[in-house]
Amino acid sequence: MNALAARRRHPAAIALLILVGLLVTGGAYAFLAPKEANASAVSADTVAEGKNLFLANCASCHGTNAQGTASGPSLVGVGAAAVDFQVGTGRMPLAGPNIQAQRQDVDKIKFDDQQISSMAAYVASLGAGPSVPDSQYTTVIQPGDQKEAGQDLTNNQRIARGGEIFRVNCAMCHNFAGAGGALTRGKYAPSLTGVTPKHMYEAMVSGPQSMPVFNDQNISPESKQEVISYLKAVDNQTNVGGLTLGNLGPVSEGMFVWLFGLTLLIGCAVWLGKKAA
């Protein structure tokens, strides 16, 4: 105890104290935060099952008829694509009040595919909206010089065109490599690494949260497939050397240089100026 008391004015003490405080509050929150009840109602009729799941898990915010309340928007006309995206990526049901819903790891997603598609069927029955995409357009185009049936362009050319469409329509928020980026007031465009092609497609047609809608008249289904294939090609490409630093551009590169580069230079300068023993 005496040793602790003697070091309480050490410069690192305050930093250590803050760190301990943060860990304790964070841990307590994770332990005490309300957990969602995992309801699973079984019904022969898909829409009816979806409705039951909806009433149990979603109605408290979106209203018993999905008409929307003060705490959640109306779901009439958002379509099956929106439900499949929001629930399938674990964004919904919302774990707690937050500036924006976050993608969850696969093991934290509360519903299985069948339950999600029942809920999607129920929401789709409320009003016309974008549906879950055809698997034809969510198949990733594999890089190569071959052409697929009915295509004028080679696979590589199609992926390159996807990149062009991505840079004009998406890169301003999601970054040229799909690494994501900041929006206003704490909102952000998420990273697109590891997102399934189906969910990318659904995000484009449904426009979740801050994201605008890119319907099939704006970016055709084939172009969407090309955009998705571009992102997957970026994910799979070989690093030609050098740290990517998250592909975030000047911010992370500048920080790296300031923290590590300058520290190294100052260390060298100190060593050079020191007399040998």
């Binding site: 062009e164 469409i165 004009v168 329509n169 301003m172 928020c173 980026g181 929006l183 206003t184 909102k187 465009a189 426009g207 949260q209 801050s210 994201m211 605008p212 809608v213 890119f214 319907n215 008249q217 704006n218 172009s223 070989t238 690093n239 030609v240 050397g241 050098g242 740290l243 990517t244 060593w271 050079l272 020191k274 007399k275 040998a276 023993a277």
Partner: protein, 367 residues
Amino acid sequence: MNDNETTAHGESGALAPAGGDGALETRSTTELDRFENPGLPPHVHRAADDDPKAAKRAEKQVATLFGLSMLSTLVFLVGYFAIHDDWVFFFPGLGQAKTLNVVLGLSLGFALFFIGIGAVHWAKTLMSDEEVVEERHPLGSSEVERAKAVKVVTDGGESAQINRRPLLKYSLGGALGLFALPFVLQVAGSLGPGNVEELKETLWDPKYNDGKPIRLFRDPERTPIKLSDVTLGSVFHVMPETMEKVYEEGKHVLEQKAKAAVILIRLNPDDIKVQKAKDWGVDGTVAYSKICTHVGCAVGLYEQQTHHLLCPCHQSTFDLTEDCAVIFGPAKRALPQLKITVDDEGYLVAPQGFKEPVGPSFWERAR
């Protein structure tokens, strides 16, 4: 630091009550006397200075560092020829990395690094570190030396007969002067008045389409947009139909694109609070210049729920419901709106172009 300050205060405090010029002067001289030239600190010998064994050890260390550099260079040379361009391997922190680039980069870096620290280690352990005093000496040459130099030049001119033959002198001057003229003109010309009118107009001006309204084309697909394509919450990145001619000619494509870029957004008409913005759009579909009025970045980050347009460069934020007025950031003016209507075939067209120059400010903007 603190100690110094208290001493300084103490001294000035002691000076003040002494009073009288004479007293102060004597006081300061005595005080000055107290500062003696401390001289150089006593020279401390290094281990390698006295102990031949330590010196031998230092020598070996330096040689080892240089040897490591040689080894790295050999790795570089062998790697350059032996490693195939297609090879990849897993490198922690990089992921799948190209073997050739990583090996060449690291070996070259280490080769140079070991030469550097070898030299420094040599200097710190073996090279003489005796302190020496070097007096300053005047930098200018002596009078005799200077006169000699002037004589060399004048003698040269004399033997070249430059003073006796003015024709040669002036024709050489003319040749050199004329040769410099194009360079001078280029620099001076670039300072002069540019074509300011180019900054004030874009390809959205109907004069580029024989006076007819100009269709809105998707970028980069280059296809016209129907009003019915633009559903609620949609964003289209738009170029004018007149860009087609520019693409064909292939000249100044980027300059024209950089001025004509437009963002087309549909929101609920009731959300638009400014009547002019509503009138210049169709059913809540509005078009605005995508070029930031601050320094001209592309303002493309549209938040569907807040209806804010954010510029990625300096975070200027424009509120679409307020006719794109600036609500945050360094931009000073709202984004210019492009009036749009629908033509007979249902395609969106711009009938009148921008009513003010797009993009950042320039001196002649208002004139």
